[in-house]
């Protein structure tokens, strides 16, 4: 099957800054894909090249099998993009904005769908307000609505939850998840790694314009060398000798110990009891996307040195 998005050897420079270096990326139809990386990694630049807002120096991009430059009519019809910047047209109300946006995509009577997205994004009571009068979070929702007016098969969201409160973030993710279940391909960037972990099935991590990881969420988290960790608050600052080799770190009276598997916990507890040390608090830490992220960012630093 043709990938929903196919990025081939894309490079982009801004003066001497290399924003994207030789990026290859295939995203299959139906995926829920996270594009992660620190600020300035090149995520927005890559999204903008896919959307046709930026032009690659080298390489090619296709969306649903069409080239984004030579067949832009088809690719833009297939894409719904939520831009990172909070942009809006101050001349219009929310509903007018959505009617006009539908028209750009050649859709004339879109009121039923517009009503539905207004409702699903909880914009009902703002529908006839001028865009200028909306708060940032509301404007963000309108941007999401605008990206959906033409029911695009591929939806790209560039930091859709930046500056959005918790409740709205959850309802937004819920909505996007639903869209994914309905068959839309979703690509998003976010700095909330826990959210990405909960939602996405595959991840690419960019760093300074390079792709430093590209894998399923499970594999990425599975290969974190940190493994599982047990965090203990003990009645003694000193660990029994037998356990000292397991210690990862110690601060504020809390020991982090590395464990290979859950059976390991029993032997740790036995060793503590034998040494007459009481466990005051215990917490099991599993590696998450954040660990992957930190580890990958670190690895690369070492490489460069």
């Amino acid at each position: 099957m043709l990938p929903a998005i196919d990025v081939t050897r894309v490079c982009k420079h801004f003066g001497t800054v290399c924003a994207l270096a030789d990026i290859d990326l295939k995203i299959q139809a139906g995926e829920f894909f996270a594009l992660l990386g620190p600020n300035g990694a090149g995520k927005t630049t890559l999204i903008n090249i896919i959307a046709g807002l930026a032009l690659a120096d080298k390489g090619s991009v296709s969306v649903m099998g069409h080239d984004v430059i030579s067949q832009y009519t088809q690719t833009r019809q297939s894409l719904g993009v939520v831009p990172q910047e909070l942009v809006f047209d101050p001349f219009f109300t929310v509903r007018e904005t959505l009617v006009i946006q539908s028209g750009y995509y050649g859709i004339k009577n879109n009121n039923a769908w517009i009503d539905e997205i207004i409702h699903r994004l909880a914009l009902d009571d703002k529908a006839d307000q001028n865009m200028r009068t909306l708060s940032g979070g509301m404007k963000r929702r309108v941007l999401v609505a605008q990206a959906l007016v033409h029911k695009p098969p591929v939806i790209i969201l560039d930091e859709p939850t930046a500056g959005v409160d918790v409740e709205l973030r959850q309802s937004l993710w819920h909505f996007i998840q639903q869209l994914n279940k309905e068959g839309h391909t979703i690509v998003l960037t976010t700095h909330y790694l826990q959210e990405a972990e909960a939602l996405c099935n595959r991840v690419a991590i960019l760093k300074q314009g390079r792709m430093v990881a590209l894998d399923s969420m499970q594999n990425l988290i599975g290969c974190v060398t940190a493994g599982n960790t047990i965090r203990l608050k003990l009645s003694s600052e000193q660990l029994p000798i037998a356990l000292q080799s397991l210690q990862i770190c110690y601060n504020n009276g809390v020991h982090d110990l590395k464990i290979d598997n859950y059976n390991h916990i029993a032997s740790i507890l036995t060793a503590l009891r034998d040494a007459d040390i009481q466990v005051l608090e215990m917490q099991l830490l599993q590696p998450d996307l954040e660990d992957v992220f930190v580890e990958i960012m670190h690895e690369n630093e070492k490489e460069r040195i």
Partner: protein, 251 residues
């Protein structure tokens, strides 16, 4: 087609929603010119036989208003969308470059004609202004406003700040307008200036437009038509190319 009509409608609404500033204000300021010139000049000048100066002046002022507003419409719409960032909604859409171009200039033509018609109709209440060949007049006013709309698109794309746009307007559009024979027939100028005026495309717009009113002009309306049409097509093609290249719009 729906996409194009939507963008046209949006561009139309953009100035119509603030019509007091974009249509009414230029009508009033143009009529002020007319009032002042009427009182000061009426007794002194007669450009064409049997055409009083004020009557001669009206088509020139109408065209000046049309030129300025057609240019202002396309250029300010473009730069506002760029600066505020909402141009991305158009850039993300499947609208073709030609559709974008024609939507912008048709809205500019509409505003130009509304302002021009306003000036003309109000002037008619006070003066008896002939309109001998209305189709010629219409032809020139449409091409003139289209040409200025296309220039406005280019200037709006090129300018990154409002003062750059103001410079384009003050150093290019205004001088070309004032030196094109809005206020006089170029036959009343020294011969060096007459020659210079022939290099100014705006001169042919105004001369041809005036021909539609009085049936007389400094040069043949066919020549004027050819020259204005050539400029219109050349500038339009340039504007479409610029849009297509992504210059200053797609980075």
């Amino acid at each position: 087609m729906i996409g194009f009509l939507t963008l046209l409608y949006k561009e139309f609404l953009r100035f119509w929603k603030v019509g007091v500033q974009t249509v009414l204000a230029p009508i009033v300021s143009t009529l002020l010119y007319l009032l002042v010139f009427y009182h000061v000049m009426e007794a002194h000048v007669e450009v064409y036989p049997d055409v009083a100066y004020t009557i001669f002046l009206v088509p020139g002022l109408v065209m000046m208003a049309v030129i300025q507003n057609a240019f202002a419409n396309a250029s300010s719409s473009m730069i506002q969308s760029k600066v505020s960032g909402n141009i991305v909604f158009v850039l993300l859409s499947p609208l073709s470059y030609r559709e974008i171009f024609f939507a912008y200039i048709l809205a500019s033509i509409a505003r130009g004609l509304m302002v021009g018609a306003g000036v003309y109709i109000i002037a008619l209440m006070f003066f008896d202004i002939p309109l001998r060949l209305p189709l010629w007049a219409l032809l020139f006013v449409v091409m003139g406003s289209g040409l200025l709309g296309a220039l406005g698109v280019i200037a709006g794309i090129w300018a990154e700040k409002f003062d750059q746009l103001a410079a384009f307007q003050n150093f290019i559009i205004m001088p070309l307008t004032f030196l094109s024979g809005v206020f006089y027939s170029i036959h009343s100028l020294p011969s060096v200036w007459q020659t210079m005026s022939h290099l100014n495309p705006f001169f042919y717009m105004i001369d041809g437009f005036r021909y539609g009113f009085f049936g007389v002009s400094d040069i043949s309306p066919y020549v004027s038509f050819t020259i204005v049409a050539a400029f219109f097509i050349a500038v339009s093609m340039l504007a479409i190319r610029i849009l297509k290249s992504g210059y200053k719009l797609r980075y």
